[in-house]
Amino acid sequence: MATSQRDAGPDDAGGGPGSRLSILVVRSGGLAGISQQWQVEPDADAEDWIAMVQACPWGSVGRDDAARDRFTWRIEARMPPRLRTASVPESELVGPWRALVERVQEVGARG
């Protein structure tokens, strides 16, 4: 699935609201095709979150070409100046990916 790592633009660097750590999780697909999303912008325990983000294999997400109607998870971690994004098929949402997503769902605001 699509994965990218890139430096965010100048607007994301330095101080201000754009410099905050934020993690977005979007679940799309499924038979119903109803998307849901959750987001966190942690303050206090940022180091724990950064460790969870860094534990994920951003550069090597597996594929699931046979499945139909399963969920797709888009995960975006903004750690200025860096933005990491990955599109993770449901069957690959295991280990550190699953831990990160479940933590975001647990404490994050639902959109």
């Binding site: 038979l31 998307s35 139909r68 109607d69 399963r70």
Partner: protein
Amino acid sequence: MFTGIVPPYLLARLAQSEAPELHDAAMAAQKTLRHDEPRRARLTFSLDADHRLVAELSDAPNRTISDGHGTEALPGTPVRREGDPAVKDAAVNEAYDGLGATFALYSEVYARNSIDGKGLPLDGTVHYGTGYDNAFWNGERMVFGDGDGQVFGRFTSSFTVIGHELTHGVTQYAAGLIYKDQPGALNESISDVFGSLVEQYAKKQTVTTASWLIGEGLFTKKVKGVALRSMKAPGTAYDDPQLGKDPQPADFAHYVQTADDDGGVHINSGIPNRAFYLVAHRLGGHAWERAGRIWYDTLLSGLKPTTGFAAFGAATAAAAAARYGGSSAEVAAVRAGWSGVGVAIDGDVAA
């Protein structure tokens, strides 16, 4: 006349019979007994005009329903196999009956023996995960969640959903449409079309009495909505404060560009869904007979994995021309259907 699954002892007696009037029945019974696995064919008896016994062999499903026990481990524990009586668990029986109804549509209407056309066993797992809001095809089996109880109930509760999932298997074997963008939306739409036809065929509905809804009754009563999708009126299935509004477009001018959902495969399927509805409605009667036949012929016509809406529309017109003639009412209905959703198809439909 009686129809049904014949117990092995009766088959064995029939197979040994040397009575001339039972010759056909004896041969059919012997053929059934030679199958490696029992009960995969259905033996039907009737009397002809001269009161002779006529025995006919037809395809029969080979279902196994397993219980995931609330885990995500597949396949789970087998709890009802082909021919077993109903169990106490409603989800198991719904899956068993839904797979049977889907097998019946493909076998009786389109002469297709199961997912691969060669009698592939139908394997389903119910009670997958905890509060799992989905049903899916994993490439080998159909998997059903129980829903969270707040928004969704059991995903086995509608024949349209079970038919939808099994049809993903049929499309995998017959056409291999990639699961992204327009080919993905067609893949989804084909599952909705035959999922709806499973329900219509089981209930013997006409194009006017059918609901044309996918997943009717899946939402709990708390949700403002009747179903997941409407083929007749895409975009109208639900409008709920928590879920939002059904995002399906009803025509190509409103095609949704998105990176999520594999390029909106469950959203843009509304366009070919409504094209099918328009074709079926124009032809009238039972949708599985002519509109469904045209779509089934198209599915087997050698579609490229990257087929888009316009090429698929052209293929349906070609399939209608091949079966009913180039100047037939069926071809006119197909053209009007695609035109009705704003998809221009090729001019040449000569078979």
